[in-house]
Symmetry: C2
Subunit: 222 residues, 2 copies
């Protein structure tokens, strides 16, 4: 039995997404709700990272997760098994979420029950970077198998994120991945980005990432 | 010194992309030019697979490669080192190529010099699936680190491809990846899809993939 809702998002009617995003962000701050927009390529480990994050933070914050996908409910199923409340958002073929779609999701998850909500965006390094969702902070995951050249190819995504997680570092023995090069490439685009090297699978680095999250959540919700 | 051109693509002016794609495909057949549209997530190994493919086929066919990216020239540089002719297409932020943009690329690579041209599409499992480029055949790469659940989440991409390459099988020892499950999920969406398990890095499976390509090129260009 599914213990999560599936929401079919409607296309937003707003002409000015940036204005809607700023309006949503102001509302989140007023309501003391920290919204994290988590982005990455398909298969970088967003859901596994979220599972490890929820395990660390679930006794400190009331956590909700909105899983966005074009189709399928597999991620909401996985998250609902952690005990956190999850809903699945279907984008109807859309390759990203904008602020209006994000707010539809928040209205459906009963966001006043939470301190911290994660939007797991559609797996895509291109389009989600172009649409401000109204989130408090943006984070992205780059996984080791994808390669250290990705900041060169998808510069906008790396530029708009407050935090970059380099995931799957447990697999470095079978890939050529240059830690220093990737940090340099990210910092050139985005000098203020926080960067953490993690393995969502074995837990390496998750504590440092959760410390950063705590600091951001507490500053936002105070 | 760069020995490849960089082309800034213009947004297409055509209203009906499907009609333009059919027109381009008919022209390719008339000119005995086989165009392969190669798609995948960022970092699945499109460029490495192309390098291995060119090494096998360069004495049999005159091969050209159009590398599409939002930014950067790293892929055209890599391909031009194989001896094949490469050009870099910049999409100006666009997350996919349509038939009009593909034809701009073909006009710039002097396509009458080739029997076989590859379009390496923007790394993205969503948007490129929605736009017919006019190519003779569509192929995609799913890499083992991305996970065997991707056909569930990006069904359109798996549905429109004539051939699916499962890459990076040399890394299977460090990932949970179910070969049978992924084949079943692909076949359910697309019963006629050809599926090859490959490692572009160590060459496993590349001969079988090149045999499929030879058959398709020869049938198209006869």
């Amino acid at each position: 039995m599914k213990d999560f809702k599936v929401i079919e998002l409607k296309k937003s009617v707003f002409e000015n997404n940036d204005r809607e995003a700023d309006r949503l962000r102001a509302k989140l701050r007023e309501n003391k709700l920290f919204l994290l927009n988590l982005m990455s390529s398909p298969g970088s480990g967003k859901t596994t990272t979220l599972k490890a994050t929820i395990a660390r933070l679930k006794d400190e914050y009331r956590i909700g997760v909105m899983e966005a996908d074009i189709d399928s409910d597999v991620d909401a199923q996985t998250i609902s098994e952690t005990g956190a409340k999850a809903i699945q958002l279907h984008t109807g073929g859309m390759c990203h979420l904008d602020a209006g779609m994000t707010e539809q999701g928040l209205n459906n998850i009963n966001s006043d029950e939470f301190d911290f909500v994660v939007l797991e965006n559609v797996g895509n390094l291109v389009c989600p970077a172009e649409f401000d969702t109204g989130a408090s902070k943006n984070a992205m995951i780059l996984s080791v198998p994808e390669g250290d050249d990705k900041p060169l190819k998808y510069p906008l995504m790396f530029s708009i994120c407050d935090c970059v997680l380099i995931n799957k570092i447990d697999t470095k023995s079978v890939f050529d991945f240059d830690d220093e090069a990737v940090v340099q490439r990210i910092k050139k685009l985005n000098p203020n980005a926080e960067i953490f090297f993690i393995s969502a699978k074995n837990g390496t680095g998750i504590d440092a990432w959760c410390d950063w999250l705590r600091k951001e959540i507490d500053a936002w919700n105070k």
